[in-house]
Each structure stands twice: as structure tokens, then as C-alpha cells.
């Protein structure tokens, strides 16, 4: 952020505390969080066990962890004005790889499997990033292509083979159910990743550069930012998180077939959009994307309890995405009108 000599809007005279309160009250993330709380509250009023039984509590936290990881990675890529449609295929590939590692190398340490999964996802992301950045081709097309390729590879590799829970060690599968202080381990992993990425985007130079690139790639280039490296980095991060999500998928479900994660890429994009990440880059936070992912999954579980057949769940999700972008539009129009009024008044 530079300080121009003439400012359109005066810097706020409020104290830091007041500013923090206003931010929390008016931010996009808290609006989504409010919707999430309303959904949980309504479901709980209807059926107390939705929140207060231990199984249900665990599910509430555990179910979103996979989509949360994908949405965080997707948000980082969308912020740079790209999109990654290959995450679902990456997830399937690393999930199957996880299973194969356990089958072919009995006794392999769990942590090594996690690292291999993340690295494999990172390599797939690197391929996307290199093609997008060096080929100067839109990410939508490239990742549509790699979506087919990665899915084809896993279909060819796995065939109709299916990896079952019996093929994987107990210590790994127990990660899917284990909790620490009643919080599932997989959720802790996902939230730790979320906090790290969120902190990086907010404070680190690299993170701010991603926003700059998304706002205006040409300006970022002229300003001297290394656009290519940053974009490649964003894709590697997104791929690595999809790889981690693949390992988490294996731990949570215990059964892996080649069709794992089909169609989840558009859910991840949807979660980011609901969470306020602008599809043309430059604004939004991973916090919003994460809450969006949580909301999508929770609505899925809450609808049957609220007496809506769960067949309608996708319709509700669609309506929610559209409501979110229309709301964004309305707010943006109002904000720009206020700025114009402020300019005219001065």
C-alpha cells in the first residue's frame, strides 16, 4: 500500500480497538460465520444431538477438514487471478498413492507417508504452475487439461483396484477418529495449515505480493515483482495442500478408489467464492474460504435435520453461492458510491 499525496479517504481517526471491532462487525468473514452459526443453531434447536452428542460434535469438526484444505489452496490460487481445477484429481492421485505406499512397504512410518503425499501433490502443482506461468496460457484451460490427465493417470494406475481399510495400518486409520481435547486430529492439522497460510498471506511480503499480482498483474510486473515465481509458488502450495488432503482422505475414509474426489474442485472454488474470495483475484482471505468450506459441509449435514430432504442440498449450495456474489456486488457498488460522495464533498 502506498500513500498517495492526495487521499480519497482520510485515514481512520478511531482507536485501534474501535477499528478492530468495526472490522469484525463488517467483514465478509464474520457474515459467513454468522450464517454458519445460524445453521448450526437451527439444527441444534431441532435436534439437540446435532451439537451435543460426542459423535456429532466430532463430525461437525472432522467432516469439513478435507474441503477446508482444498479451499485454502484454491483461495491462494484465486487471489493471484488464476484457478486450479485439477485439485480433485490431485487428491485422488495422492490418496491412492498413500494406500499403495502402505500396501507395498509394510511398516512405513506414517509421517513419511504424509511427507510423500504432500511432496507428490506439490510436484503436480508445480507442473500446473510451470505450464501456466511459462506458457502464458490461462490457468482455467491448463488445469482443465491436467485435471483430465491426472484423473486418467490414477484411473490407469488403480484400474478397478480398491484399497481397503485392511490394507492400511491401524495407527494411520486411527488418525481419522482420534481426538485431542475432543478436537479431531485431522481438524487440528487442517486448522494449523489454515493459520499458517492465513498468517503468511496477511503479513509476509510474499503473501502481499500475491494480492498485488491478483489485483493487477501488469502493474505488479512493472513494479518489479517476480510474477512468474509467485504464481508458480501459489500453484505448488495449492497442489501440496491437495496432496495433504489426499492423505487425510485416505485416513478418514479408509477406502480409496480411483474415483475419489470427483467434482470436488468446483466445491472448493464454490467455498472460496462463498467465503468472499473474488474470482478475479486480489481480494479475499483464506479465513473466508475456510468458513465457506465449513458452511458447505455443515449445510449438507444440517438439511435433513431441518426437515429438508438432503437431495435439495446442492440447490441450497447453489443459491448460497449466487447470494454471496450478488451481495458482494451490492456492497462493492455501495462502497464505490460512498467513495465518490466523499470525493465530491471535499
Amino acid at each position: 500500500m502506498t500513500t498517495p499525496t492526495e487521499m480519497l479517504v482520510e485515514p481512520s481517526r478511531k482507536s485501534a480497538g474501535q477499528r478492530a471491532v468495526t472490522t469484525i462487525l463488517t467483514s465478509r468473514e464474520s457474515a459467513i460465520a454468522l450464517v454458519l452459526i445460524l445453521v448450526i443453531g437451527a439444527a441444534t434447536l431441532n435436534t439437540h444431538s446435532f451439537l451435543f452428542s460426542s459423535d456429532s460434535w466430532r463430525d461437525l469438526l472432522l467432516a469439513p477438514s478435507i474441503l477446508l484444505l482444498l479451499a485454502v489452496g484454491q483461495a491462494v490460487v484465486i487471489i493471484t487471478r488464476s484457478v486450479d481445477l485439477s485439485v480433485g484429481s490431485t487428491l485422488a492421485l495422492t490418496a491412492y498413492l498413500t494406500g499403495r505406499l502402505f500396501v507395498d512397504n509394510p511398516g512405513i512410518p506414517v509421517i513419511v507417508v504424509f511427507l510423500i503425499g504432500i511432496a507428490a501433490g506439490g510436484v503436480l502443482g508445480l507442473i500446473n504452475g510451470l505450464l501456466v506461468a511459462l506458457g502464458k496460457v490461462p490457468a482455467l484451460v491448463i488445469t482443465l487439461g491436467t485435471m483430465y490427465i491426472y484423473r486418467g493417470v490414477v484411473l490407469e494406475w488403480a484400474g478397478s483396484d480398491r484399497i481397503n481399510a485392511a490394507d492400511m495400518p491401524k495407527s494411520f486409520l486411527s488418525l481419522g477418529t482420534k481426538t485431542i481435547l475432543s478436537i479431531p486430529v485431522l481438524t487440528i492439522i487442517a486448522v494449523a495449515v489454515l493459520v499458517a497460510v492465513g498468517y503468511y498471506l496477511r503479513t509476509a511480503r510474499g503473501g502481499r505480493e500475491l494480492y498485488a499480482i491478483g489485483s493487477d498483474p501488469d502493474a505488479a510486473n512493472l513494479y518489479g515483482l517476480n510474477v512468474r515465481t509467485r504464481v508458480i509458488g501459489a500453484f505448488v502450495l495449492c497442489g501440496a495442500l491437495a496432496g495433504l488432503a489426499g492423505v487425510v482422505y485416505a485416513a478418514r475414509y479408509g477406502t480409496i478408489s480411483s474415483s475419489a474426489g470427483t467434482g470436488i474442485e468446483l466445491q472448493a472454488v464454490g467455498a472460496a467464492v462463498i467465503g468472499g474470495v473474488a474470482i478475479f483475484g486480489g481480494s479475499g482471505t483464506v479465513w473466508g474460504a475456510a468458513i465457506g468450506a465449513w458452511l458447505l459441509i455443515t449445510i449438507n449435514r444440517a438439511l435433513p435435520i431441518l426437515g429438508v430432504q438432503d437431495f435439495w442440498q446442492r440447490a441450497v449450495v447453489g443459491a448460497l453461492i449466487i447470494a454471496a456474489i450478488v451481495l458482494d456486488r451490492v456492497l462493492a457498488v455501495r462502497r464505490s458510491r460512498k467513495l465518490i460522495e466523499a470525493r465530491d464533498a471535499s
Binding site: T80, R81, S82, V83, L85, L131, V132, A133, G135, K136, V137, P138, A139, L140, V141, I142, L144, G145, T146, M147, Y148, I149, Y150, R151, G152, V153, L155, E156, G159, P217, D218, N221, V227, V231, T262, G263, L266, V269, G270, V273, I279, F280, G281, Q309, F311, W312, Q313, R314, A315, V316, V317, G318, A319, L320, I321, I322, I325, V326, R329
Partner: protein, 363 residues
């Protein structure tokens, strides 16, 4: 939406279209590269793959490829304006469900089909209204309606499927024209192809479509009704998708909420393979038709050759990437050779403007 810089050296040149002779302009294009590839694959398969030249191959190929071919027509126009429609497959699913549900409720097939097409028009109009008049990004809107329309379809029928359709109509969907090996669906496809080719390549409306893709503000100031054009294109996409949904239902004799899931990406892959630029402003329907048929021929050839069907995914992906990368690779080669020539003659520094960055379609 995407990373930025497509090299658009054309803007630096004055009249690139007339710099080459006619045959070069017609034959050395992306479209003809795809057509040539299609012919090569087709004749190779005929000679090398047993049973490929049997009478059933063409018949099933056309039956299978028909929905994608139909939807690719309006999708081409939409992508040329720089927008995208991800909700088409969900509209197919919704119209399939409507035909099944209304028929089960006692409506005749033509009436149910009419209602389904009207609903398809409404679906398209909703997309078009949000994108053209409210001004929302099409990628985000149609990801939303992708879920919405699919959700409505799945919501109406649940997990049940309607399968009792009168044989008269299911047979019609699979019927052949006379004794030839062409299915009847070819007739409406041909009609629509002619309509869309005329619309895109031979009317002011079509020129407007290209103008919007190149620069929608300039198009607006030169008298193109940008919002109305986009709106109409989405309505067309909705109507054609609904028609494809009716065909899909009758051909397989089954109306289910999850019919044609994932078809939107197949359609977009075929359109892009056919040489349409995702940034808009560039593309032609003959390339798209070749792109769709290329995927269809590859699919049936691989199936007959006993190659596992999964390889087709890899091949489609590789073709897609190769086809888009070839453009930037060729323009990279052209730029470097042009730069070397200029430096050799003038010794002046390379012009930065030549590689002017083109912003993605952030309308």
C-alpha cells in the same frame, strides 16, 4: 480469472489478415490443424483398427457425441465473448428430470419436452440476467447455477429414475435415417449447426460477438448491444442444453437427476481444442466441430482397439494443453525470430510494446 499475458502481437501489426496469400490464410490456421488431425486419426483408425470401418461405428459415434456437439455450438459463442457457462450439464440433468417427471405425471412426451425447453430457456435467462445486466463474473455465477440446477433436478426426482417411456419416442432417438448409418439426431444437429454458423459468421450479431470478446467497451461504443448479446447467448445455451437433455433421456430411456454430470468440462475441453481462445474474440465453428468429432473418434477408436478407456482422459488432457501451448509457443518463436531480424538490420533495442500484456477477461 487467469494469468495474464497472452501475447497479442496482432495488435501491433496493421493488417495481419492480408499479409499472407489466401491459401495460407485459409489453411494455416488452428482450425485446419484440428481438422487435419481429425482426418489423420480417422483414416489411421479405419486402416489399422479392426471393425472401425464397420457400419455401427459411425452410428454409435454420432449417438454418443450428439449432446456434446449440440451444447458446443452455443458454448463456442459464449466463450468467444469471453464468458463461460459451467451450468450447461446441470441444465441437461434438470431437463432430463422434467421430461421424466412430467411424463410420469401423465403428460405426453412432446408437451413435457416443450416444458423442459421452456425451463431451459429460463435457466439460461437467469444466468444471462446475472451476468449481462447485473454484471457478475460468469465463472462464479455459473458455478453457482451448476449446483443450483443440478440440485433442483436431484431434488425433484431424488434417487429414483423414470424409465418407462413409450417405445415410439425412445426408438426415434436411436432411429436411423433410411438405411444409412446416420442416426436421426443428425438432422436437428445439422439444422442447429447451420443456424449457429450463419449467426456467428454471417450476421452483424456474430460480428458483435467477436467484438465483445476483443474489447467489450469498444464494442459498446461502436454500437453493439453488449448486455443483450450476452443475455441472448446464455438463453440459447439454456435452450440447446435442455434439448440435449431431452435427447439424452430418450436415448438411454432413463431420466435421472445425475444424468450428464461433468459434461460441462467435456464440452469446454472440446471447444477449446477446436481453437477458440478462452480470452475471447477468436474462434470458428468448423474448428469446434472438428474438436468435438476428434474426441469422439479417439474415444471409439481406443474402445475398439481394446485400449482401456482411461487413456482417453490422458489424451484429451494432453491435446488440450498442447493446443493452447502451441499458440504461445508459435508466437514466442515468431517474436524471437522477428526480434533477431530487427536487431540484425537496425541494431535498435527490442521493442517492449511487441509483447504487450493482455489482461484476462475481467469484465
Amino acid at each position: 480469472m487467469t494469468t495474464t499475458d497472452t501475447p497479442r502481437t496482432q495488435s501491433a501489426r496493421t493488417y495481419p489478415s492480408y499479409a499472407k496469400s489466401l491459401w495460407q490464410r485459409v489453411l494455416l490456421t488452428r482450425e485446419f490443424a484440428v481438422i487435419a488431425l481429425l482426418l489423420i486419426v480417422f483414416f489411421y483408425s479405419r486402416n489399422q483398427i479392426p471393425n472401425f470401418d464397420g457400419p455401427l461405428t459411425i452410428y454409435y459415434l454420432l449417438l454418443d457425441v450428439a449432446p456434446i456437439l449440440l451444447i458446443a455450438l452455443p458454448m463456442t459463442l459464449i466463450i468467444i465473448t469471453g464468458e463461460i457457462d459451467l451450468s450447461v450439464a446441470s441444465t441437461v440433468g434438470l431437463s432430463s428430470v422434467l421430461v421424466g417427471d412430467l411424463h410420469q405425471g401423465g403428460m405426453s412426451i412432446p408437451m413435457a419436452a416443450l416444458v423442459a425447453i421452456l425451463v431451459g430457456v429460463l435457466c439460461g435467462a437467469f444466468n444471462g440476467f446475472l451476468i449481462a445486466y447485473v454484471g457478475l463474473p460468469s465463472l462464479a455465477v455459473t458455478i453457482g447455477t451448476l449446483a443450483l440446477y443440478r440440485g433442483l433436478g436431484v431434488g425433484i426426482l431424488g434417487t429414483t429414475a423414470v424409465t418407462d417411456f413409450p417405445e415410439k419416442w425412445t426408438d426415434l432417438a436411436k432411429d436411423r435415417i433410411g438405411d444409412s448409418s446416420y442416426p436421426v439426431i443428425v438432422i436437428p444437429i445439422l439444422v442447429l449447426i447451420i443456424v449457429f454458423v450463419l449467426l456467428l459468421h454471417f450476421t452483424p450479431f456474430g460480428r458483435g460477438v467477436f467484438d465483445i470478446g476483443l474489447n467489450d467497451e469498444a464494442a459498446h461504443f461502436s454500437g453493439v448491444n453488449v448486455a443483450r448479446t450476452k443475455f441472448l447467448l446464455f438463453v440459447m445455451a439454456g435452450a440447446v442444453s435442455a434439448f440435449a437433455g431431452i435427447y439424452f433421456t430418450l436415448r438411454f430411456g432413463s431420466a435421472r437427476g445425475d444424468n450428464a454430470t461433468g459434461m460441462e468440462l467435456q464440452v469446454i475441453a472440446a471447444v477449446l481444442l477446436g481453437g477458440v481462445s478462452i480470452f475471447g474474440g477468436r474462434g470458428a465453428l468448423h474448428g469446434v466441430l472438428a474438436g468435438v468429432l476428434l474426441i469422439g473418434v479417439l474415444q471409439s477408436a481406443l474402445r475398439l482397439d481394446d485400449v482401456s478407456a482411461n487413456v482417453i482422459n490422458i489424451i484429451i488432457g494432453l491435446l488440450l494443453i498442447a493446443s493452447v501451448m502451441s499458440t504461445s509457443f508459435l508466437s514466442f518463436v515468431a517474436r524471437t525470430t522477428a526480434g533477431m531480424k530487427r536487431r540484425a538490420t537496425e541494431g535498435s533495442p527490442e521493442r517492449q510494446q511487441a509483447s504487450a500484456h493482455h489482461e484476462g477477461n475481467n469484465s
